[in-house]
Symmetry: C2
Subunit: 431 residues, 2 copies
DNA sequence: GTGAAAGCGCTAACAC
DNA sequence: GTGTTAGCGCTTTCAC
């Protein structure tokens, strides 16, 4: 792989000139520049991102942190995909690449060890795994596995590692040996440190967070670290941390009002997780609008899901077995709405006639399923784009105030609510 | 941010010792190591990935290349998500991070300019955009936008850039000026070079490719480059390039045979794109099995989609308007199957009774929709894991033979085919 | 068991 | 306009 030196040599100039020429500085003669550019192409020269990062202190890398729910990888939810697509498009156009961080579960490490301003319910230290005591950041095993570094001391026999997870204050730390290919000791790999740590190692210029609970370990730490940071659907604040989200309260109200206007008076909600901001806000919107419309708030009409299909299905089953089941349901995600619809259909109910359903998100599928879903549409790609734009600002301007952005939503009326759409049959069930 | 030097100083040792201690080399006294580890923690030391990459020539980065169909980002297809999830899990456990590359469209650059062994239909040079003539790799605009480098020559006025896209052999290249914050010239950003180029800049240790056509520009180049490379659902071969895919031929045969065994004789196919390997293979499996079963091959029963929902819908409409429509349909993706079902339902057909449908993939939704989809299940996460495992081998062993892995599939019988499932009503339509 | 020193490939002063 | 030089933060000889 050719280096800048090779190009310089070939062109008969100094490396500085090559750097300048290739980076578009004006103080290079046209003739020289042309020669250099051409030579660089011919030599297949690729400026090393690592070298550049090292010297400029700018990696042009942005971390994307996705929380992987045990069963439901966030990457799998259409909402996040769309957001990522929007985000990616914008930052890539600005010359950034994306580093994908995702965590399979709550992070065992990074429990506020750093200077995070988190007075909240701090996880008890001394609890589970001893915090931050392993030799930092050893690449699990494979560092000296096959590459250079031929002088690996001991042959991979001798499993003398009585304490592979050394404790700082405890017995002498028996360090993991490099290149111990065979003895893949206890539970290495995985959990390679907090998001913050990984971000710092890579010197990412900024981070975007999604699908995670602000109280998940390592999150507040990240937000408090001063690293430019934008969260999606997560009210994260910090010195340089802001967020984007949809108008969830308003959206929920929209849904309820629509249902009301269709004649419904018994309106249930299938809500998302309460430890998420959208979960709380959509519930608030629901409840407020109920009050505004003079409708009673009924505990038994409030069910809880997790934004995914299955939970919608189960919630609907519960609602339908109520002595006085609702005539309309507001599901706070399309996936749950689809689950609810399935449950209702299996009981023989005709969606849009016997039961009205409104979702939230407007994922692609919403328009496609049968019956097509009435839903509160979020601009998902727009959220991604907004997050990207804000993050870029945060990166470029150290003094920029962390933004809290709310994007509007709109109601998309299709069939599942039974509204008089194209086919013009009002079908408003009894109140 | 603390450097290794700070830690060394604090511990009163040399940087070499710190490096050794933190990297788990055995030739450090336990006492020293403990001190160092503790200090590193306290100082919040984070080894710089860039510095490490620079010296070790190993980035512990793996590139994931996704092709973004103009309308349908691959990231959006459930299949790829699952694959990525599996892939990610394994490589992360091995200490790698993932660099997400995705391209919005065919790549305008990298038209075989490098030494790719591609004797195929090479894109005509001198055609569209002049190849590789821009100053390589300028970070679009923003390099000197706000950061250091305060000595930016001209103030951001003077839009004297008559030729912002300089041509090598043409008129004198007017170089893009750094820091021209305001004058965000014509069509910069985006298309930052071929996948290979970006991989090389980041010195990724390996790449995984998915959702792309092997003949897309830059792909063969990548495969031919000698960079460890695994493709998913793509028969890519090269010195260090292999692939994983499901047994698509066998899976299609399975689907057809199942439909046949249910009594169907008029079996149509909604096929995926023919320029993909799964598109071809599933078609081959379909046709072969038809022959084996003694069924005629009918041109009008072959329709073409693109693996996404809409195309299934449209294909089904065509099939249903045939003089003698099929009684069964094999859709080569679940999304298309769902689209087909919708079209059929809208015509008043009862799925499983009037029309049997079998899909391919077994995405989560397949089990959830109503009626639940009978489908050929791929082990999507397994594909990701297999790709990861193979890639890691390719990386670790320069002499490793590039693998071509095929994973088995299985038929999952649910309701959409009308088979006597749980509810035991055989419903085999007329032949 | 530890230290000194030489780079990895690049950018950014500063000279000229 | 161009060259020289000094690092960025790390790993890795080679001494001792």
């Amino acid at each position: 792989m050719a280096t800048i030196r090779d190009v310089a040599q070939a062109a008969g100039v100094s490396v500085a000139t090559v750097s300048r020429a290739l980076n578009g500085y004006p103080d290079v003669s046209d003739e020289t520049r042309r020669r250099i550019v051409e030579l660089a192409r011919r030599l297949n020269y690729r400026p090393s991102a690592a070298a550049r990062t090292l010297v400029t202190r700018r990696s042009y890398l942005i971390g994307v942190c996705l929380f992987h729910h045990p069963s439901q990888p966030a990457l799998t939810h259409p909402f996040f995909q769309k957001v990522i697509v929007g985000f990616h498009r914008l930052v890539e156009a600005q010359g950034y690449d994306i580093l994908l961080f995702a965590h399979a579960d709550a992070q065992p490490e990074g429990t506020g060890a750093a200077a995070g301003p988190d007075p909240g319910p701090a996880p008890v230290p001394g609890g589970g795994a001893p915090p931050g005591t392993q030799a930092l950041d050893r690449r699990p095993d494979r560092l000296a596995g096959a590459g250079p570094r031929p002088t690996v001391p001991a042959p991979p026999a001798a499993p003398a590692h009585g304490a592979d997870a050394p404790s700082a204050a405890g017995p002498p730390a028996r360090a993991p040996r490099p290149g111990a290919g065979g003895a893949r000791g206890p539970a290495r790999g995985g959990s390679r440190g907090s998001y913050l740590k990984r971000c710092q190692q890579h010197r990412v210029d900024g981070v975007v967070l999604m699908g995670t609970d602000p109280d998940a370990p390592g999150i507040r730490e990240l937000a408090g670290s001063g690293l430019p940071c934008m969260a999606v659907d997560l009210d994260l604040v910090g010195p340089r941390a802001g967020y984007v989200m949809s108008d969830n309260v308003g959206g929920a109200a929209l849904a309820v009002r629509h249902l009301f206007s269709l004649g419904h008076r018994r309106i249930a909600i299938i809500n998302g997780e309460f430890n998420t901001r959208p979960g709380r806000d959509r519930f608030i919107g629901y409840r407020q609008e109920l009050a505004r419309l003079g409708l009673p708030y009924r505990m038994e009409y409030v069910t809880q899901g997790d934004f995914y299909f299955d939970s919608g299905y189960r919630a609907m089953e519960r609602l339908l077995s109520l002595p006085e089941p609702p005539t309309a349901v507001f599901a706070t995600s399309d996936l749950m709405a689809m689950g609810a619809i399935k449950a209702a259909q299996e009981r023989g109910l005709r969606i849009g006639r016997d039961l009205a359903v409104v979702g939230f998100d407007d994922i692609d599928l919403a328009a496609l399923v049968h019956p097509a879903l009435t839903t509160v549409a979020q601009d998902m790609e727009g959220l991604g784009v907004a997050a990207a734009r804000a993050l870029l600002r945060l990166i470029d301007d150290p003094a920029a105030a962390p933004p809290a952005i709310t994007l509007p939503v709109r109601l998309v009326v299709r069939q599942s609510c039974g509204a008089p759409a194209a086919s013009g049959n009002p079908t408003a069930p009894q109140a």
